[in-house]
Each structure stands twice: as C-alpha cells, then as structure tokens.
Symmetry: D2
Subunit: 353 residues, 4 copies
C-alpha cells in the first residue's frame, strides 16, 4: 500500500484480533539510528492518556523490529516491524448486523464474507499502531535533517481551539500540547464535550491540525505529483478522516485573490512569504514556508445509542452496541496524522535531496 510514495514503500498488515499487526517499510535510507524509546513515546501518545477520553484494550503495543535494523541503525533493506496482539479473541465471530457507518457491510460485499471482522479487523483503528511505529522512525530521520512535524487537536465537536493559523512552529506545538486532548492552550471545554458525549453513550468528532517546518523550497511537482496530492492520499487512508485542507483550505474559497495571495519578501536574503495562506505549497511544490494542513475526523461510529440497521440475513432491525468504546478518537489521532505525514515528508526528502 505504497502508491503515494516515490522512494519509500509501505505495507501495513494485520487484523484487530489476529496474531499480530505490523508494517514493512522499504526504501528507508541506510545508516539512520533508530531510537526505540522515541517510537514508544509515539505509541503511548496513540494509546491515549485518560479514561475520560478512551478505553484502551490493555495492549502493551510493544514494537518488535524483525529486519532492516543492525547495530541500532537502518540497513537500507526492508524494515519489518510487528506488534503482537496480546488480547486477541480466539473465538470465532459471526457478523449479525451491519453496524451503521462501520465497514461491516462494505467489507461483506468486497470480500464476500471472508474478511476477519472481529473488532473491525483490517479496518480497525488498531491498524494505525504499525503506521505510528513506522512514522515514528520517519520522524526521527527527518528531525536529524531539521524537518519537524507536529500535530494537535484544533477542535472537538463545536469547540474550536487554536489552529495552525496562530501557532505554526512545530517546537512550540510540541511544548504546548495539552496532556489529555492534545490541543494547544486550554483543553477543559473540549474535555467537557467528550465527557458529555461518553456519558450519553455517544461519540464526537473533531479536527487535527498539522505543521511541518524545515522543508526546503522545491520539493514536489505540478499536477498529480504535487505535495498536496501525496499527503491527501496518505491522510484519507487513516480511518475516520473525511476532509483534508491545506493552508486556509476551504476558507480560501470564500476569499478574494487580494486576501488570499501570500506576498513574497526577503528575510536575511531568503525568499519568504509574509503570510502562509497557501500552507507552504505553490503549484504542488514546497515554497520553504511551513506546511500546514488540517484533517476532519468523523465521530467514531461505535455508540451505545440504539440505531436502525439491517442484519446480515437481510432483515431490518434496531441494535445497540455493548462493550468498549472511545468517546472521541481525535485526541489519539493527532499522533497518527503526524506519523502518517512524516512518512510522506521523508519520501519527499529522500526523493528531492
């Protein structure tokens, strides 16, 4: 699953309740030190930090590197990593109802009923774990080239927080990210929204903002090899993402050209723009300003509220979920966006250096 890359290739495998999930990354540069603690740190961010926000299933999420690493450094040949599912359910599972807005129905049609859909199977948010592990390696390599990428929660439901329009320095973002939600500034209103949804057996969506700084001007190509196309293809591959915008994005559609254009200026002999409504990209190519983009996450479709649906046998019914459930996946999704983006940025950095 690596069509949006030019130099890397990524294969993510596994099911929510299978033996193991994992990833193979081909095309990594050789000789790059891999800091396992830094990977672990990203994995912890993905797990989420509070029972108020998410119910983890008690996985240790230990990342085991099977190949491509020698004496602590990348070898240049494929790096395979796996995460053993410790709480896999061994019992069989029979799909009885198509849960609304889940992939139960579409997977049924696509795979003729053969997919392992226990816990969401290959469609589960659990598949973002190997993605984060792979991206955490990319982030380290980028960091050594002074390319930083950081994401944060910019809204939960109707509660808007700070966005990359006001904070676009990755270092500052990393420093200011709040403990539980991962927003900038105050997170109390967002937390309240999440708690209220959970208490009512409901869920709530939100947005994740991402900023990458340190990319030189001149990465990318016009038309379909543009940086926006590559990043969007990656970001829409994250489960629950339903919108992506760059710079002022949909806001640009409401502007006039005189408001939207970013004037060029010189700062210490370097060409810069004095605003960054284009999100660091002109004509598909980086212009040296921070890359800024936002992704919209739908509320997780797993809710305890009774819902109308159809059974696998083709009968209308009403059903209610029982069991574990995330009130809001957005706090856990920020690091996923960040790591997904890091893989594309490393690909660009390798391709255009």
């Amino acid at each position: 699953m690596s069509w949006m890359f030019e130099r890397l290739r990524l294969s993510v495998f596994g099911e929510s309740h299978g033996k193991a999930i994992g990833a193979v990354i081909e095309g990594l540069p050789a000789g790059e030190a891999v800091d396992l603690e830094a990977i672990k740190c990203c994995m912890e961010r993905r797990k989420g930090k509070s029972a108020a926000v998410s119910t983890t299933r008690g996985e240790s999420d230990e990342v085991e590197i099977l190949s491509g690493l020698y004496r602590g450094k990348t070898t240049g040949t494929p790096l395979a990593l796996q995460i053993v599912n410790r709480t896999q359910r061994s019992e069989d599972y029979d799909l009885t109802v198509f849960r609304p807005s889940h992939a139960d129905y579409t997977a049924q049609i696509r795979y003729g009923g053969n997919a392992d859909m226990r816990g969401g199977g290959h469609f589960s948010g659990r598949l973002t774990a190997p993605l984060v592990a792979a991206g955490a390696i990319a982030k380290q390599i980028l960091g050594r080239r002074a390319i930083e990428v950081e994401a944060f929660v910019s809204s939960v439901g109707a509660v808007k927080g700070l966005t990359y329009e006001s904070v676009s320095d990755p270092t500052e973002i990393a420093a200011r990210r709040t403990e539980v939600v991962g927003a900038l500034d105050d997170e109390s209103a967002m937390l309240a929204v999440i708690r209220a949804a959970r208490e009512q057996g409901d869920s709530v969506g939100g947005t994740v903002d991402c900023v990458a700084a340190g990319l030189p001007a001149g990465y990318g190509d016009p038309l379909w090899y543009g940086v926006e196309s590559r990043l969007a293809a990656m970001l829409f591959g994250i489960p629950a993402v339903k919108g992506v915008e760059f710079g002022r994005g949909f806001g640009l559609a409401e502007m006039r050209g005189s408001e939207a254009n970013d004037p060029f200026a010189l700062r210490e002999g370097r060409v810069v723009t004095t605003s960054n409504r284009s999100g660091g990209i002109n004509g598909g190519i980086t212009n040296g300003m921070p890359l800024t983009f936002r992704t919209a996450f739908r509320p997780t479709p797993t809710i305890f509220v009774p819902q109308k649906t159809v059974t696998a046998e083709g009968r209308e019914t009403e059903y209610s979920v029982k069991g574990r459930h995330d009130g809001c996946i957005v706090p856990r999704a920020a690091v996923v966006v960040e790591c997904a983006a890091a893989l594309i940025l490393l690909d660009l950095a390798e391709r255009y250096r």
Copy 2:
C-alpha cells in the same frame, strides 16, 4: 502521472504556450465507442460561457486523437490525444518577478530556471484541457454502465448555493446547472460577486460539489487504497484546489456519532442508508449510495491589484499584472472536477468489475 490508478495510466503533457498539450491514457477498455461531440461539449463547458466570468484566449481547443481509436471505438491500447496551442507566443519569456501564490518561485527552485513558464507553463490551468478531454471519454464509458458523475458550483466567495446535501441525483444536477456559473438554482448573487471582483481587478474563490451515482457497493479497499484516497490524490492535482471533503466532510467533525451515522435500511430488497453523511464510502469502500465530495478552489492568484513581491534577481518590489484574467475560475472548474473524478471512477469500475 498515474499513481492513483490501478488499471488506467494517465500522462498529461504540455505547456501553456508550447506547441501542443495532450494526454496519453493507457488501460482503457477495448471496444468502447468514443463520441467526439460529447468530448467537445465538455471542452466547451471548460472554456466558460460568458465574458462576465472569464476571458478565454480564443483557443478552439480542438481535440485530436492520435492513437487508440479505430472505427470509432477504443482499441484497448494507449489512446493519445493532443490539443494544438493556436495562440502560442513564440517569443521568449524572462521571469522577472515571482508572482505571489503562483508557481513562479517554486518552479524556479525545482527546475533550476529551466521550466517554460510562459503563461504559467506546465502549471497553467490550461493543462486541465487534456484532462477534461480524457475524462470526457471516461464519462461516456461510465454512462454506458449507468454510472453518472456530475459537478456544479456550490459557492462563490461567501455566496452559498445548493449543495449535494440537497441535490444528489446526477441527472437532476445536469438538468439544473445554470448557464454561466454552473450552480444549481439561482446564480445571480454569485454572478454579482464575480463581477464585483473583476471590476476591482480582483478574483474570488469558490467550491465545486460533485456527485457520482450508480457505483455498486464493494469498490475500493481499506486504508490507502480507499476510494477517498484515490479521489483526493486526483482532485488535489487540479491547480487551485486546496481542500477536499467527502459526504458531510468537515461538518462531521462537529457532529456526534448519533448525528453522523447513516442508518441502514432495505429498499426493494436492497441495502441502502437512509442518510448519506458518509458520502457513499465506508471504510474506504463504496456502499452503493451516491458518492459525494466537495473541492475548495482558491481565488486565482492573477489579480490587477498591486502586490508586494520579490524579483528573480532577489530584490523586493511591488508589481501589478496586466493583461488577461479570470475573475473566477470556479465556473470553469466544475467540469474539470467532474472529468477528473470520472477517470478515477472508471479505474474503479474496471478494477472491481
């Protein structure tokens, strides 16, 4: 430039003032009749219908098919088409200033000053002409399989029109699209916004909504081969697109799960959803409901208002554009979105049939 396809491959070539622009499409099914009048009709929509909206450069935009067509039908081998640039400027062109939010600066860095940037070169909106020609062929083939795709203008600047949330039947869209702007319903307010911008030497952005109906359930794959990833990669390759959303898109981020989920029901024995906030896609796979998505177009950066910028020699300056200019490209962009989407949909239809 064909990485987002599995079965088709598309190569778009040319510069705004070069000899010709064109496209090569590989992987088209054999034996499909090609209606040259239908291609012409799409080309006319792209040219735009009124001086109030756009100043065309007087190109006939005649599409010449060089290969892959025999006795009026596709052969199954590569179809090449070209559009000769009749008003090409033969004189040389020296880049003197980096026009704000154009690709002048990024192309300079990327191609070391070798790109032919006359009239925007390979970055020009003119390159959407061969894309439309290629997509118009895809649209015809899809039509024969009862897959219809239609796009329309849903907003211009701050003026909102009808969206796919109220009209999601492609046939109705085609019938209701207004003459000049290509909106649904009344276009007078949108026209007024465009005229006002033009009169002030300014431009204005907008959004294009697109609906595809007739796709069976079960097209696509989870994660990075999802339909959203493929379409987004294509759509962000269209010059000036800065945002893409599916279904309720960014609106979903503000909802609760109980508001966002689409209940399943049975209609004449067929599984449907009674709402379509997911835009016809669950887990990256089509669910049989209409595919709905929206693209945000920035205002064209070519404006007559004086702007601060930097010269190619590295000096700050103020400059004003002279010459031809589109007040709003959005009315011309709808058919581009439609044809771009048609290529992805044909690829899906070929891949999953």
Copy 3:
C-alpha cells in the same frame, strides 16, 4: 518490491541471521483456502533432499501466517507470513574481505556499510524461503483454476537433461521429477557432477526449466506489460539467476522464420499451435499454449578454493571460505522458480479474468 504486479503486491523482508524473514502479500483474492501442508511441501523441496547436494543449516522453516487468513481462507486483506530464524548468529560480524561475485562489495557501496551482511544478509538465498511460502499459496489458488506450474532441473554444469521441449505437461513433470536433483529421467550424471564439484570445494551451475499450463489465451499486453517482461523481472530477482529465455529463446536467434513460426491449427474447435517455439506468448500475450521458460543459475560463489580478492580496508589478498556450502543450488532452486512464477501467473489470472 512489487512493481512487476498489477493486482498483487509483494514485500519480502529479512536477513539471513536476523530475527525473522517473511513476506507481505497484498491483493490476494478473498475466500481462497490455504493448505498449510502444501506450503510445507514446497518449503521442504526448497530445503533440498540430500547431503550430497546441499548442507542445510538446520532450520525448521516453519511458516507462520500473521494476518490475512481467517477460518482457513484468505480474507482479501494483506497476508503476512514470517519464518523465525532459529539458528541466527547473535554475534556481530565484521566484513573483512569482499568475497568474489558475492554482494559484499556492492552492498558496502550501496548501503554505506550499514547492511547486515551476516550470512549474506538480505542478499542471501535464504530470502527465497518467504518467496516460496508466498508462491506456494499462489500455486494452490492457480490449481483451483486449472492453472498448473511446475519447474525442474534441465541441466547441471555441462550435463543436459530433458527440457520443456520434450516434456511440457506440468502434471507429468511433477510425477517424473527425480528425488534429489529434481530433473526429469535419470539424475545420476548430474549428481556425479555435483559431487565432484563439492569434493573439490567447488560449486557448479545449471538451468531450471518451467512450464505453466492452463492459462487462457489473452493474458498480457504488448510492449512493456507483456508476460515475458513481467516474468523476467520476477525471475531475475531470484539470487544467482543470470539468464532467462522463453520458448526456444536463444535458440530462436539461430533459426529461420520458417523454422521458428508456430503454425495455428484447430483441435476440437479450439485454436492451438502445432509447435510451441514461442513459449506460449505472442506479442506479449498468452496464446493458450503452455508457457515455457528457462532460467540460468550461476554456480554459487561460495567455494573453498582459494581466491584473489580485496579487503574492506582496501588491500589485495587471497582468501579461502570455511564452513557450510552448497555444491549446487540448482536442485533447490527449481521450486523457487516455480513459486516465483506462480505469483506472476496469479497476478495475471486476477488481472485479466
């Protein structure tokens, strides 16, 4: 590493002395039963059957499927498999001399000395184990569609055995393959050549013939999507392969057209050719006759004979290998060719059905 496929994608990872080697196969059809015994049988053929021919390192080569298999059938989502290296050497390894015709020197340059070259690392013939496991699955699926593929040893050193020119029925090949060498008919002369080489601390090369029957006419495309291009790209990826030919191959270069052409005829209403010098392919497309091709394997470069070479520090030296060594890898390579080919054939069968 999957560029020669249209529908499948294959990622092979691991090093000879790393934790595990394995493969991820994407794009397998859903609902296909996987017979683990049949995989094991191919793995045993790869291990080789006699101390006269090869010294195995005592690996059990147990194939563990981590994902993509549910209730004994493929799910349609990525199938990951791993083989744990039980005899991995934990100690570090310092490259001291560039062994002639091994990849020591080229890997040193390519990966800047970071590759894990213990036991040949990612370049080792050991990497064919996951390839065989993956191909064994493909073979099963093909078998259900009446597509059979079998390979055998057609020569060892200067000793020529039967070739596909005399036996081109896969079922007959499987039945007649000799126990140790895997040739057709008598293997004693080949065995003698291998033994003689081993006794002198030397090695010997050979050829592997492969036949696939049951492919319908009409698979493939002209020029660079031709069946020969796809298969050759796969086959030259097998370590030690230095030549590939289809049908009469290099022999055709010596013929006249009147000798080389395969006349068409009708047999029970079906178009056939009365000879098969083209190896079942015309213009890159299958013609319904058995696919026949041959691969040349160089002698393994690991020999005990003293050789001149250069040290990693850049000094000329003479060196002798000690330790384990295969006198001839060709008997073990036949199943590798067969399984590699099966992956390409399954890709074709999925692509063109």
Copy 4:
C-alpha cells in the same frame, strides 16, 4: 508503461498505420540540452542502411517534440514527442487469417477484435521508433555523465561475430560497428545469411550484445529492484526479444564457481574485478565494471513461405504473405536495445545519484 522505472515514466503510443506514434517521458532531469541531430542519427540507425537487409516503408521518421523542451533544454516537466505516420493506410482492414507467431490471434482475444491491427498496429516494430527517440535523449544525458551505452549485432542465424566478451568498451564498439549489419569486425558472412534468407522469402534471427560503461558501483538493490530485473523488463518489451542474459549468462550455468567468480583487485586504488563474467552486477547492484548483456531476437514471423494457419472465422487454411518484408530485423534492432537500455540507465543514474 513505465513500471520498471523509479524516476522516469514512459508512455509509448500509436499504431503502425494510425495518425502518429509517440512517447511521453516524465521525470527527465531539467536543464539538459537536447541535440536533435543526435536523435536523428539514432533514428537513421533504426531505419537500417541497406536494401539487402530491410525494406523501409519510406517514412521520414521526423521526431517532433511537443512539450518539455524550452530554449533547447529539458524543462523537467513531461517531454512529449510524436512521429507522424506519413504512409498510413486510410482504408479499413479486416483480419482474415491469424498469421503464425504474430499477435493477430492473441490481440483478437485480448481486445475482442477492436485493436487496430493494420500493419501490426500497436504490436508493430514501428513502435520502437518513439522508443529510440526517447532513448536517444537519455543517451545524450548519460553521455554528459560519462556513461556510455552501445549495442551491436553479435550473431545472425548460426553466424557468430565478436561479442562483449572480447570487446567491452563502448567507444570502441561505436567505432567498429560495421556499416550494414552493425556487427564488430567482418559482416560479410552475416550479410550472406540474411541475403540467402530473403531470396527464399524467409527471415533469420540473431543476437544483440550491449555494453554500458561508466556506471558507478552501488546502483540498484537486491531482489526485485535489481538492475537485471529492471533491464530485463525493459528488454523483453521490445518486440521479438525471446531471451536476455547478463555477463556470461547461460554460459555460467555450465561453469564451476572457480571458473565463474570474478576476483577483485585494486587498480589505481579503485576496486575492480579482473574478469567480468557477472556482467557488472553483483546481488542486483552495479559493481563499477561494464554492464554487459545480450538479447536474443527471433526471426521476424513475416515470411513469404506458405504456412498453415487458421482464419478469423475458425477454419484451417494455408496462406502466404505478400508485400514488404524484413529479411532480418537484427541489424535495425541494435539501436533499439541501446536506447531502451539507456532509459533504464538514466533512471538508475537519477535514482541513485
């Protein structure tokens, strides 16, 4: 049709009697001067030099560059080139018999009778004209980086000439290539074989040897990104190629390791091998020695000798070709091999620099 590249992408279009044939090359480096005379020179070599060898159809084969070239240099954006077919036959063509060992039958099945098969259509050797034009550009760029690639005829029928085993310096090859056949040394015996075949209405095959020098060590990757896989995929895409071998190729299969291994040595501080039986590649990666490979061309299947075959309506028949015919395409094929290889080598040079 560009799957064997990492940086370039190549699309070759057209039919033998369509309006035009051509190619689009994406990913060329920017700022490279394009010498149209050098392209013409390669086109002339492809046309062939003597009526004794080939009957050209009187095409001027003028290469027109439509895009991607500005002020005599590559722009870095897609370069499109076309060759107008001046002697195209406008009349319709009805396939009546399946000519033996042509693609008539396989194309019929593959494309359901829709392919334009006039003069061989997209399967025609004429499609090598745009390949040569594209490769001639690649050759120029490589030349500036001191990478030279030259091909020559090493055998015609049973007549063997010099091979790369005796001459492996591209400059010397270019200087020694004979006028009509393009062999090294004396061509009279080869010419006699070709003349004899022609006089009897027959054709004859042969082999083309190719040498590339100047490639640094360290280009390529193990397994399926190896240089042999990439080159073989390209070479088998050339019509009539049925075998490819690298270095001593099939000859290696007959050797012992002690005969086959290339000892390393130092020459002026540089690591070299004192023989080059591996053809410049170890483990899929260039070792800095000349790349040597050979391709086997079958005799052209167009012969005047009566042949048994089947009609499109499904009746057995005997038929004889009338009209134009090449006695031996090998002399014209050498430049095709050379240009095809140059495209892969440029891709490597861009990818690994």
